[in-house]
């Protein structure tokens, strides 16, 4: 194992060194801007990216944009190695939860004031770029989870938690072999979705500015209890089956737009749609997607920000976000191009208007996986009450972060 891990690191570093060269070669009168992004999902997406690139070069004579595309699964490892080896690109895509970490150690540059008009962007998406209240990047696309519902079992999607519970009960009562809803699990994935439910009860996860943990308070406890309450009408024996919702074994599930294509492809007969998540007091949801940042050790920072404005402009953002498999973060683009999204995607467009960024805490991924996920699991398995699970989790998080309250 030692061999394997260290070997992998060495290979990754070597590869990064090989591929990331030439970040700043400047011939007379010409400037090259290097941009790293995820590999294209489809050939069509590649064409869209190419068009956006050539448009930018036409508008900026003497500028060449070199786009390096890297498979999503390898991206973070490769980027990490490039940072360690001082071979970073000028500008590149960055996972949302990594922005705080990269900002903390000065790997990326702060967005210069006045570069963009913040009101052009959805607030939730823009906030995923904040660390200590300052912006360190721009969102390029965003995504979220929403409520998938089987139209045969769910005539009208529930809007509130009470309606959700009633609907789930009704489905399971009508046919005990069918679960009401696939209740998320207490794993890293479930813990990523859960804050959207907490915000739906008017709650917050943390207060970064005052170093306060808030996910042990009533709204969060209610949010966890909602999942616990849904379990009797949504037995795990049914919902743990592979593709339970697509197979018609569950009336509803919480998932993201990536499942729309899969279900349509593999289960063409399933009649389903997507609605925003039910809420208790306030419509709300979680957020995922990609940001783009400018690296401190890269070149041509001004040009890099200009490129990111180009990607996130009202004109280009919809097609670029669609190429990435997400949704536009530019409000004008989202509004104007809503019609270009399919029936099921409308639910996500609606959901994203009320998306909340995850806490801007550098250690958040670890807290998400190692503390919140087990707490959710403990409550869902009935080992402890929701309140107890979250109180314990908050205590552990405070100890890890060194926060007092």
């Amino acid at each position: 194992m030692i061999r394997r891990v260290t070997g992998t690191v060495a290979v990754a570093a070597l590869l990064a060194g090989l591929t990331a060269c030439g970040g700043s070669e400047e011939a007379a009168g010409s400037t090259t801007l290097t941009y790293w992004m995820f590999q294209d999902r489809t050939p069509q997406a590649g064409e869209v990216v190419e068009k956006i690139r050539t448009d930018f070069e036409k508008a900026n004579p003497g500028v060449t944009v070199k786009i390096v595309k890297i498979p999503k699964d390898d991206y973070n490892t490769k980027l990490g190695s490039a940072v360690a080896a001082n071979t970073v690109p000028d500008v590149g895509v960055l996972d949302q939860p990594l922005v705080a970490r990269y900002a903390m150690d000065g790997t990326i540059k702060e967005l210069p004031a006045g570069t963009v008009n913040e009101a052009d962007y959805f607030e939730g998406a823009l906030n995923t770029n904040r660390y200590n209240g300052k912006l360190y990047g721009l969102p390029v696309d965003h995504t979220a989870v929403a409520l998938f519902y089987n139209k045969k079992l769910v005539p009208t999607p529930p809007k509130t938690w009470d309606e959700l519970k009633q609907m789930s009960d009704a489905i399971h009562k009508a046919d005990p072999k069918v679960a009401g809803i696939v209740v998320p699990k207490g794993d890293g994935y479930g813990a990523w979705m859960w804050p959207g439910v907490v915000h739906g009860a008017g709650g917050e996860m943390v207060d970064e500015a005052n170093k306060k943990i808030l996910f042990d308070q009533q709204p969060a406890v209610d949010a966890l209890q909602l999942w616990v309450d849904l379990l009797p009408s949504s037995p795990r024996d049914i919902t743990d089956s592979e593709m339970a919702f697509a197979n018609g074994l569950a009336g509803m599930m919480i998932s993201g737009p990536w499942d729309v294509a899969t279900i349509k492809d593999q289960f063409p007969e399933l009649d389903f749609n997507v609605a925003p998540l039910p809420y208790k007091t306030t419509p709300a949801g979680n957020i995922g997607g990609e940001n783009a940042v400018v690296f401190s050790k890269g070149q041509n920072a001004d040009l890099a920000w200009k490129w990111l404005k180009h990607l996130t402009s009202a004109e280009n953002n919809t097609i670029y976000a669609q190429a990435l498999g997400g949704f536009p973060i530019n409000k004008a683009a989202a509004e104007r191009d809503a019609g270009s999204f399919g029936e099921q995607q409308q639910g996500f467009l609606e959901q994203l208007k009320v998306a909340h960024a995850r806490p801007a805490v550098p250690e958040w991924i670890q807290i998400n996986d190692e503390i919140i996920a087990p707490a959710i699991e403990a409550a869902l398995s009935g080992k402890v009450t929701s309140q107890q699970a979250l109180t314990d989790a908050a205590t552990k998080t405070r100890a890890l972060l060194g926060w007092n309250s």
Binding site: M1, I2, R3, R4, V5, T6, G7, V9, A10, V11, D73, N76, T77, G80, S81, V83, A84, R101, Y102, D105, T107, K185, G186, D187, G188, Y189, G190, A191, W192, R236, D237, I238, D240, S241, E242, A244, L249, S255, G256, W258, D259, P362, E363, I365, Q366, N368, D369, E370, I371, A373, P374, E377, A378, S381, K396, A399, L400
Partner: protein, 321 residues
């Protein structure tokens, strides 16, 4: 590398009279070194250097981006004693040891059983050998996907077969108590390499010994326990040692089996019941930005494997009897 050291000496053909070891004169030695140079370079660049670098980084706090800062033994002491920073470290040790204790014997018993069967049949043994070996050469991602379906609580084949014997449906991969046995069963299914080695061991038992035992009146059961098992002892010892080393490092399968939906977060199954040591290490190295701690974990595992292997050499019988 070794070649320059040799190269500065003239390659002379040794005089026949002075030659002590035939075939190993200086020029032959040079050729020999040249021949092993690629392997040596590989060893140094891809194994020795990274391992030494990992040892160094295990004494540092390093996130892959900022310069590593020396922290001495802190990573090690935090891993062993600091529940706040590494809440699931000991859980991952426990899970891995449990898995090893179940998977290794199960794999060996399955492999020996398969080897005996393949050895016994007269026709088509090549075909069966191939079929039994296939799980080993199947891509791990495919194996994981297939077994997710086999263990499916609603449609899974495993539950269907158990149902024939009146055993109720189980939610294999989502019940904490069942996760390790379920994973060990997959390992046993993938026992092809052990099966081939056992098969070679079986072929190495001289017929004369079996015949002698038969003449002395030993039945098949007695022949198995008194002749085959003792004669296979060196093979079994080898398989136990390598099997334990491999089981302590299992990673790919759990990574695939517990990766959820659209999310890439892998937290090791329900209530961390499948959080193998190396999966835990991987998460710290590449997900939680703690490469220093991950390197320390890899060295702790190295120490554990060394101790376990030494104990096996000391206490297990190695010689055929």
């Amino acid at each position: 590398m070794a070649s320059p050291v040799v190269a500065d000496r003239p390659a002379v053909t040794p005089r026949p009279g002075r030659r002590r070891r035939p075939g190993f004169g200086r020029s032959d030695r040079l050729v020999g070194y040249l021949l092993i140079t690629p392997a040596l370079i590989y060893f140094v660049v891809f194994l020795l250097y990274p391992a030494m670098a990992a040892l160094y980084y295990s004494f540092t706090d390093w996130n892959l981006r900022s310069p590593a800062s020396w922290v001495g033994l802190q990573n090690y002491s935090d891993l062993l004693f600091e529940d706040v920073k590494f809440p699931h470290f000991w859980k991952s040790v426990q899970v891995t040891v449990q898995y090893t204790l179940i998977a290794v014997p199960l794999t060996l018993i399955t492999a020996l059983g398969q080897a005996l069967l393949v050895n016994a049949i007269r026709r088509g043994s090549n075909l069966f050998r191939l079929l039994l070996f296939l799980p080993v050469v199947t891509a791990e991602a495919a194996v994981g996907a297939i077994w997710r379906w086999l263990y499916d609580p609603q449609y899974g084949l495993i539950n269907a077969i158990l149902g024939l014997f009146g055993i109720p449906k189980q939610n294999w991969l989502n019940t904490p108590e069942l996760v390790i046995p379920a994973l060990a069963f997959i390992a046993a299914w993938q026992c092809g390499i052990s099966m081939i080695i056992y098969l070679a061991g079986l072929k190495g038992i001289p017929d004369s010994i079996r015949e002698a035992a038969t003449i002395d009146g030993a039945g098949p059961v007695q022949r198995f326990w008194k002749v085959v098992v003792p004669m296979l002892r060196p093979t079994t010892f080898y398989l136990v040692v390598t099997g334990v080393i491999a089981a302590l490092q299992v990673f790919g399968l759990v990574y695939v089996i517990f990766s959820a939906g659209g999310g890439r977060s892998v937290t090791g199954g329900p209530e961390q019941s499948g959080l193998m040591y190396v999966l835990h290490l991987y998460l710290f190295a590449f997900r939680y930005d703690a490469m220093g701690a991950a390197c320390a974990m890899s060295f702790l595992l190295f120490l554990l494997i060394m101790i376990v292997t030494a104990l096996q050499f000391k206490f297990l019988k190695q010689e055929a009897a």
